[in-house]
Amino acid sequence: MIEVGDLSKSFGDKDVLKGISVTFNAGQTNLVIGASGSGKSTLARCLIGLVEPDSGSILYDGRDFMKMKDKERKELRKEVGFLFQGSALFDFMNVQQNVQFPLDMLTTLSSKEKKARVAEVLERVELSGADKLMPSELSGGMKKRVGIARAIAPRPKYLFCDEPNSGLDPITAIVIDKLIYEITKEYNITTLGITHDMNSVLEIGDQIIFIHQGYKAWEGNRDEILVTDSKEVLDFVYASEFMKKAKP
């Protein structure tokens, strides 16, 4: 469980997050939605300390992240898997090495166990056989999937996925959504997903928060989002012609 209290962040005179309070529960896929530039990535980066928030509190199962020293934060981060929006694969390592790297750094698994774990997660993201390729030889969607494999390989307690299925074809996108949903339940992970994909929202959104102009403008689950009376949310959800047609 991650409890966020009154979190604010501005860059220069630009207020990006204005007092966000939200609780992300374990074993639940928590999704953050909102327009491009609304501060979703910034929220995720604040939670893990890649960006230092201006004020607010962040509790990881009661542990106060804001009060932690660098060393303690480093320890906590070992429990975190993070998929970056741009995948952030290491250029100088192949797929196998990329996925194995956090295992080398964070776990005490034997090299045989590591190999097995890498093979297992690569299979889950449907990339068995791509293990010897370099990041430059992968398509955008493949990079994303390797990024997910790398994030989940050490079996994190907290999983952050910044746009896990953007750039994927609809079928693979569903596969990835399902994967995230399943491992969240299977290992009781506190998952925070950032997405633009309405399909994901409706498929796997156990809890959804909508960020609008720096505020948390709405919060609810996948059933509630379809029948909300919040205008901003409705504008967002039914932006596409397809969704308008599908409107209940």
Partner: protein, 247 residues
Amino acid sequence: MGNFVFHLGKYIMLIWRVFSKPEKFSIYRRRLFDEMITLGLDSLGIIMVISVFMGAVITIQTAANIDSAFIPTYTIGFTTRQSTILEFSPTIMALILAGKVGSNIASEIGTMRITEQIDALEIMGVNSSAFLILPKIIAAVLINPFLTIISMFVSIGGGYAIAMFTDIVTVSDYVYGIQLDFKPFHVAYALIKTAVFAFLLTSIPAYQGYYASGSALEVGSASTRGVVYSSIVILVANYVITQLILI
């Protein structure tokens, strides 16, 4: 001036973190090996080509400037050796490498910064500055003295080729000159310089890349700054070391 002090402080703090305790040594060993190949072996070709022409030109120019009959022609060999060992092989090679290796390091690390690879390392509990920069510094400090020695031989060989193929100086005079009054200490001095330059030409571009932000454009200018600043600092360091050691 304030800006200079700010960057100097930030640079020193980065270097401090680079040399703090590494987390898993085995990971570094592999990186160090890779870096020795990229920084060392891959620079060998350019070092040899430049050195052979450098030695040839020093020989010709020295000959052209000696027009007094009282100065013996073996002075040409002597001067070629001295300039090569004291200045050209350590300093010019460092400047060439600052251009080649420096821009490479700054853009590699800068790209990793803007594509969030450095953030990814930090999240995995890795000291990203040490992981990325330390192997480069150590590899260069270990490998560059060998490059300098190779450059010395090749440069003096370039002069030898001039002696052999032209009638500016006879081979026997040249060979006599390059052996005359040889002080091994001069080689030590050159190698100390090389090691210091190696540290500068890796760490300064690394600093520029590490703190790059924004777009690919910014990585380009970080790379330019890395080359320019490391070249200037190398020349200043050259002066300081020479003053300290040689005088």
